[in-house]
């Protein structure tokens, strides 16, 4: 059974931005969309080991800082070269001002 863990406070992430969250030896990326929803994916790009939290959020896209590979962070879908493998996504809920993800 996957656990819900507190990733950050709501205010830790700006709108249309992303932060890194490390837990249990793994790294995740926590996104806040322009319409104020939260999402979570694996923290590393599936192409090469680069932290997506250093990348750029544009609408529902996260662009990797290393090779500009793009994913839809809501679905995890890879959006073309140089990324070919989808990103794992995780359920997110907001409770009492905290962003919780199920890992």
């Amino acid at each position: 059974m996957a656990d819900w863990v507190e990733a950050c406070a709501v205010n830790d992430v700006e709108e249309e931005d992303v932060i890194r969250f490390d837990h249990g030896g793994r790294t995740f990326a926590i996104y806040r969309s322009p319409d104020d929803e939260f999402f979570a994916t694996d923290g590393y790009c599936t192409h090469e080991k680069a932290h997506l939290a250093d990348g750029l959020v544009m609408d529902d896209i996260i662009e990797c800082p290393k090779h500009n590979g793009r994913f839809n962070y809501k679905t995890g879908a890879a959006k073309g070269a140089p990324v070919c493998v989808n990103l794992a996504t995780y359920p997110v809920k907001v409770e009492a001002g905290k962003v919780m993800i199920q890992v």
Binding site: D17, E48, P65, K66, H67, N68, A81, C84
Partner: protein
């Protein structure tokens, strides 16, 4: 000096250097980055269609205008300045458009990047699928011997080859047969080493499209009984490539290899506004390699922000070539020799212990 080459560098992407780079952790390594606050970096990374649309309109208008001049003045000496302009726009500025649109940073809108990327790839006789992947590798493993597919001048330097590069002959001789081979359905082992299997078929198909256009151009030239179609399509890769080589060679030539700090293997050079338009600000090359997400139009601002941590830029192309020339001559005998550019006192120091390179082999 203890700089005599221990073993010859093996630039194959599937050879001994490749194996060593992977074993020693040089491949896909963590690279040095200057600290930039997230807020500032977010601002610098922001995409916009405006600057690239403006520049692309100017670019295409200049290409079409100079092409019209070539057709109009064909057969007289007045054609020469038009050939000069058209050649540089087609054979050189296409490289920076290919580069920026390949990164997806020139325009905010993805399809605009893709359209210009494919046009520029065709102009350069580059397979757009193959080169997208080779450039990704270049950013992962910049000037890592055995890994980087885009090392322009290998060691010891072949100066004749470097000189011929300005004419485009060698590139032409490589690019055209490569496209023919790929169009016939064959990718080399090296190409397969960096193009994922699911993309390899696309590389073959796009090579066939490029070849179809060249065949049509040749047929059109024969039908017209004129060289003009070939002067406009294909041959500018020869006579207009000199500016791309002049600016592009300076990116890494004479600097360190097998290091994981772009300040050691990449060069920033101040250039005149015309060259910067042709080159789309890639003269800020250390900045680009450290932060490839920053669009070309924001690189001057990035440079201002992080220059305290970078070597002093060369004040001109002339200065950079004068600086590197003796290093190249020295590398003819000692291929480990390289130029280590001095950091300002405000910079975080180089950490030689993290690199395979022999820091004592450096000229400063």
């Amino acid at each position: 000096m203890t700089t005599a080459a221990k073993t010859k560098r093996d630039y194959s992407l599937v050879g001994e250097s490749t194996r060593r780079a992977i074993e020693t952790g040089l491949a896909s390594a963590e690279w040095y980055h200057t600290d930039v606050p997230r807020k500032a970096m977010k601002e610098l990374m922001q995409r916009s269609d405006g600057p690239a649309i403006r520049d692309t309109i100017v670019w295409l208008a200049a290409i079409l205008g100079s092409a019209a001049g070539i057709v109009w003045f064909w057969g007289s000496w007045w054609v020469v300045p038009f050939l000069f302009v058209y050649g540089v726009l087609y054979g050189s500025s296409s490289d920076s458009r290919w580069h920026e649109c390949g990164h997806g940073t020139a325009f905010r809108t993805r399809w605009m990047n893709d359209v210009v990327y494919h046009i520029a790839s065709f102009m350069l006789m580059r397979n757009p699928v193959q080169w997208r992947w080779s450039h990704a590798r270049h950013h992962t493993d910049t000037i890592i011997v055995g890994r980087d597919a885009e090392i322009a001048v290998m060691r010891p330097p072949d100066l004749l080859k470097a000189a011929l590069a300005f004419t485009g002959i060698l590139d032409f001789r490589y690019s055209l047969p490569t496209l023919v081979r790929q169009a016939s359905g064959t990718l080399s082992e090296e190409e397969k080493s960096y193009i994922p299997e699911m993309e390899q078929r696309k590389a073959v198909i796009v090579a066939r499209w490029h070849m179809a256009v060249y065949v049509a151009t040749i047929a059109f030239a024969i039908a017209l009984g004129s060289w003009i179609p070939l002067v406009l399509v294909g041959l500018p890769r020869l006579y207009g490539t000199w500016h791309m080589v002049t600016t592009g060679l300076l990116q890494h030539i004479g600097l360190a290899d097998n290091v994981v700090d772009h300040r050691l293997n990449t060069r920033t050079v101040y250039m005149n506004p015309i060259s910067r338009f042709i080159y789309w600000n890639m003269n800020y090359h250390v900045e680009h390699h450290m932060f490839p997400m920053v669009p070309y139009h924001a690189l001057p601002r990035l440079h201002e922000l992080i220059k305290h941590d970078l070597p002093e830029p060369n004040p001109s192309m002339w200065h950079a070539y004068r600086e590197v020339w003796p290093v190249l001559l020295r590398q003819l005998k000692y291929e480990d020799f390289y130029l280590k550019r001095e950091l300002p006192p405000t910079a975080r120091p180089y950490r030689g212990e993290f690199h395979e390179v022999d820091i004592s082999a450096a000229a400063e």
